[in-house]
C-alpha cells in the first residue's frame, strides 16, 4: 500500500434545491482517499453519503470547497472536462448495477473502454481477462437478464476496473445482494484495493461489509462524525481515532 492521496476533498459544502426548499446536504466535509485502501462511508439515510460520493466522483460540483483527483483540481471545470476526469481516473459501481440490458457481459465491460477510445482485439482481450478475474470467465456472452444479481454486480465491478482507474467508487454495492453474493463482492473490492493498489470507496449501511474495510468513515447530517481504521493484524476495523467534528458553521 502506498499512502499517496489520490482523491482529496476539502471543506465540501453542498446545497441542494432552491429558495425555501434549499437544503444543506454537506456542511464542510474533509476526506482524502489513498491507494491500496478500501474505505467504507457509512451513515444513516439522508446523511449525505451519496451526495458526497457524487461530488468525489466529479458527477456533482460542490457549492463550496475543493476536490482534487490525482492532483487535478475539479474547480471551474465544465461538464465535459469533468467527464474526462472521470474517464481517466474513476471507476463506478452502482447499487442497481446499471448494466446495459441489450449488451452481453463482455460488451458491458467493453463499452467502458470504448468511451475511452480503446477498441479492437486488445480491448476485447483486456475485458475478457477482467471478467475472468471477477469469476465470470464462463459468462462472457450472457446478457444481464440471464445473470444473477451477484453476477451482474461482478460485471459492474469488471466494468469499473477495466480501464485501471486509480479510484473506484461504489454506491451501496451489496444492497441488492444476498449474503453470499454480498460477501463475494466485498471480497472482490478488497482485493482490487490491496492487490491492484487502487483506492476503493464504498458507500454503505450494510454491516456485513465491515470486515473487509481498512477504514470506516462515518457521516451524519452532512458532517464526518467519526473515522475508524483497522489496526495491523486485525480482521475487522477497530475504532482508533474517533473524531467528533461537528462543524460550527453547520
Amino acid at each position: 500500500m502506498t499512502n499517496e492521496a489520490v482523491l482529496t476533498a476539502t471543506n465540501i459544502v453542498k446545497e441542494l434545491g432552491s429558495g425555501a426548499g434549499k437544503v444543506r446536504a454537506l456542511k464542510g466535509v474533509d476526506l482524502s482517499l489513498v491507494r491500496g485502501e478500501l474505505t467504507l462511508l457509512m451513515g444513516p439515510s439522508g446523511s449525505g453519503k451519496t451526495t458526497l460520493l457524487s461530488i468525489l466522483g466529479c458527477i456533482m460540483t460542490p457549492t463550496a470547497g475543493a476536490v482534487s483527483v490525482d492532483g487535478t483540481s475539479t474547480d471551474g471545470r465544465s461538464p465535459d472536462e469533468l467527464a474526462v476526469l472521470r474517464r481517466d481516473h474513476i471507476g463506478f459501481i452502482f447499487q442497481s448495477y446499471n448494466l446495459f440490458p441489450t449488451l452481453s457481459a463482455l460488451e458491458n465491460v467493453r463499452i467502458a473502454l470504448d468511451v475511452r477510445g480503446q477498441k479492437g482485439y486488445e480491448a476485447a482481450r483486456r475485458c475478457e481477462d477482467v471478467l475472468r478475474q471477477v469469476g465470470l470467465g464462463n459468462r462472457l456472452r450472457n446478457f444481464p437478464g440471464n445473470l444473477s444479481g451477484g453476477e451482474q454486480q461482478r460485471v459492474a465491478v469488471a466494468r469499473a476496473i477495466v480501464s485501471s482507474p486509480s479510484i473506484v467508487l461504489a454506491d451501496e454495492p451489496t444492497a441488492a445482494l444476498d449474503s453470499e453474493n454480498g460477501h463475494a463482492v466485498m471480497e472482490l473490492l478488497a482485493r482490487i484495493a490491496h492487490e491492484q493498489d487502487r483506492s476503493v470507496l464504498a458507500v454503505t449501511h450494510d454491516p456485513r461489509t465491515l470486515p473487509y474495510a481498512d477504514r470506516v468513515v462515518r457521516i451524519e447530517d452532512g458532517l464526518i462524525v467519526g473515522e475508524e481504521r483497522r489496526p495491523e493484524g486485525l480482521d475487522a476495523p477497530e475504532i482508533t481515532d474517533l473524531t467528533k467534528r461537528r462543524k460550527a458553521h453547520a
Partner: protein, 377 residues
Amino acid sequence: MIFTLAFRNLFHDRVRLMVTLVGILFSIVLVAVQLGLYLGASRMITANIDHANADLWVMPFGAKSFEDGGLLMGARERHQALATPGVERVTPLIVRFSEWRKPAGGSTRVVVVGTDAEDGAVKPLSLDYGTWEDIKAPDAIAVDRTYLKDLGVEGVGGTAQIGPSRVKVRALTDGVRSFTQSPYVYTPLSRARQLVGVQGTDLATFHLVKAYDGVDIEEVRKELLSRLEGAEVLTTAEFRQRSLSQWLFRTGAGVALIGGALLGILVGTVIVAQTLYSSTKDHLNEFATLRALGSSSGYIHKVILTQAGLSAVIGYILGMLLALLVVLASQSTPLPIVMTPLLALGLFSVTLFMCAISAVSAIVKVTKIDPATVFSR
C-alpha cells in the same frame, strides 16, 4: 460499440421499431409517389419539346405551352426567320386542340400535332407500330396505345373523325402520354392543317428554328426579335420552362404534388422524432450511466444518430421496395409515376436528413441528462 448499442436499442423494442419503420415507409412511399408523379407530369409536358430538333421556337406572343400556342402565325414570319443571318432551317409545326369523334358515337378532345418529319421537326415519340411513311399515307395518323380505349378505337386500322375529316390509325406510339389527358394525334403538316380547319394555308402554331453550327444562338434570337413583330422567340429550355410553369404551377397541379411530398416528409419526421424521443427517454438511465462512465456527450449523440441512421436505411429499403411496386403498377395508367436513379438517391438523402432532424429532440433530451441520476435508481 456505438453501432452495437444503437442496433440493440433499436431492435430491443420491436413494436416501437415497427412504428418507426411504418412512419419512414409511409413517408418514402408518399414522397416517391408525389415526386414521381411530378417527374412523370414534367416529362409528359415537355416530351414533344425535348424531341424537337430546334434551337429556337418562334411563337405568337403570349403562347402558354406546347398545347396552348395561341393564334396561328402565317408564312411571313417563316420567311422573315429564314432570311435571318445564322438560320439554317425553319420548320412549321401545327399544335391545336381538336374534336375527335368516336366511331361508335361520342367525342373527346385531342391535340393534333402536325409535322413533316423530313423537315426535322417533332417526330412521334417511341413509334411502337408502323413507321413515319405509314403516317404519310392518306388519312393516316398515329396515336398512343394508352388512349385507344378513350378514343374508341381498337388499334391499327381503327377510324374516327377529326373536324370534318376522316382519319385512320396507321401507327401507334407507346408511352406518349398527355398531361392534359387529351391524346396526341401525330400526322403530317398538311393533313394537320386540314384537321384543324386551316387547310390551304401556310399557318402554323410554331416555327422551329435551327441555327447553323457554331452560331451564337442569342445573336440569332436578337435578330429574329427585331424582325418578327408580335412574335416571341424562346430557346428550347425557356419554352420547356414556360410549359412546365403553365401546367404545373398556374394550374396548381405541381404545387399540390410538391405539397404532398413535403407533407410526407413532415409526417415521417414527426413519427420518427416521436419514436426516437421515446426510445431515448426509455434508455435515459443507460445514457446517464455512459455519462457517469466518462463518455463525451458526442459519444451519446453518435449512438442516437446511429439509431436514426439505421432506422433510415431499413425504412428506406422497405419504402423503396413498396414505392417501386407502386411505380410498376402505374406504368399502364395515363399518369405513370417515374422513378429515376437520381430520384432514388434524392429520396435516400431526404430519408437520412429526415431521421437526422428527428434525432434532434432526442439529442436535446440527452444533453440535459444529469449523470447524478445514476445514484437515484
